[in-house]
Amino acid sequence: MANQLQQLLGQFLPEPFDWLVLTVLQIVALIICVILCVAYLTLAERKVIGYMQSRIGPNRVGPGGFLQPFADVIKLMLKEVIVPNRSNSFLFVVAPLLAIVPALATWAVIPLFPGFVIADINAGLLYVLALTSLGVYGILLAGWATNSKYALLGAMRSAAQIVAYEIAMGFALVGVLMASGSLNLGDIIEAQSGGVSNWFAIWLFPLFIVYFISGVAETNRAPFDVAEGESEIVAGFHVEYSGIAFAVFFLAEYANIILIAALTSVMFCGGWESPFAGWEFLQGTVFAVIANPSLAWFAVKIAFFLFCFLWFRATFPRYRYDQIMRLGWKIFIPVTIVWIVVECGMLLLKIGPWGTVL
């Protein structure tokens, strides 16, 4: 379809511009999809947690509450944006932008289905790491620029927590790189082709668990949401943000959640690959289609991980701050280092599906 569109554009535009327009169209379409996903993730969160607590959740706006996210956005859009008089107003306004830009821009390197990725760069994983690390600046600057004690406390908690878990995340990704031998996310998915038994989630199971839980901590989600801790520091770093500035932080947080879910499925669960790939007896039956790699499988995996995020929030009480730091430094980092050494052994003894690496 992209090729047909490019041919169509080529009739009106000279050589490099048809490609440019096509890329811009793809990017805008992807961003709109991500924002719509965020909108419906907020609705899903309220519905899922509602049912887990024997409530119905929002059901007034539209059929079954289906238009609730749009009502929320319009409401937030029309609210006044307050810039507190003691705050550093420039940084106060820039901070939400610093949060939202990396959360959206990281999608440039996520391969959505075979042969489709907006920027097919060979250092994809480095790009992801660089941009996700930038996300912490938005939170830190917001907390500092507000010039309120609650905001400052929330920002410092959040920053210390994010950097602690980023190390565990980085080590987990080193394990993935050793197995896949490439920084390109498409290649990492290809390395896991051939059914569920080749997924890194099986062979690097401790790293998979560490990565996903660190992802929950990175996005400041329950049970690691001390940065917002309503009962302790009101709302943490965004206590003074109102109206659209708050909405942009909200959008960034949920875009980051979807991103972590997508990255977990790319790194450990084969991205677009089907778990039934390689099941010969499916060929020639009506079920053959489920063994094909497709966007649908990617979406199913993302949806599963997103559901886990909501499930955690409905299930676990909030961690104490010293417990969070202990989990990050004293449990996750040793576990990942040990598993990297174990993986070296697996590579030497040619255990595992990636025997070609050494």
Binding site: I100, L125, K149, V248
Partner: protein, 119 residues
């Protein structure tokens, strides 16, 4: 060829920034309200703020940041090693394991020193 692949990523960054700017300016244009001193003062549970919040903070946050830099650099060293594992072979692997061993010694030291305690 190589740099060309990065152009869409750059475009993506620009468009994401643009969308953020558009959202923020829409909010500032649409959301109107009366400003007052009480509304604009920093929130502190209904009191006037007692003092400026640019205050001293716990040195442990600083310590965490320093440790983060050390370990993050370590990971930056491990990344190219992990990607090039098939060309550097056994020698490279053993060399990096020694490096990892040195890191683990440092990690044990800081653990015993109590740099990771938080209470």
């Amino acid at each position: 060829m190589l740099l060309e692949n990065y152009v869409p990523a750059l475009l993506f960054l620009c468009i994401a920034t643009g969308i953020g700017l558009v959202l923020m300016s829409l909010g500032f244009m649409l959301g109107r309200g009366e400003k007052s001193d009480a509304k604009l003062s920093p929130y502190e549970c209904g009191f006037d703020a007692f003092e400026d919040s640019r205050l001293k903070f716990d040195v442990r946050y600083y310590l965490v940041a320093i440790l983060f830099i050390v370990f993050d650099l370590e990971i930056a060293f491990l990344f190219p090693w992990a990607v090039a594992l098939d060309t550097i072979g056994l020698f490279g692997m053993v060399a990096m394991l020694i490096f990892l061993g040195v890191l683990v010694v440092g990690f044990i030291y800081e653990w015993k020193k109590g740099a990771l305690e938080w209470d």
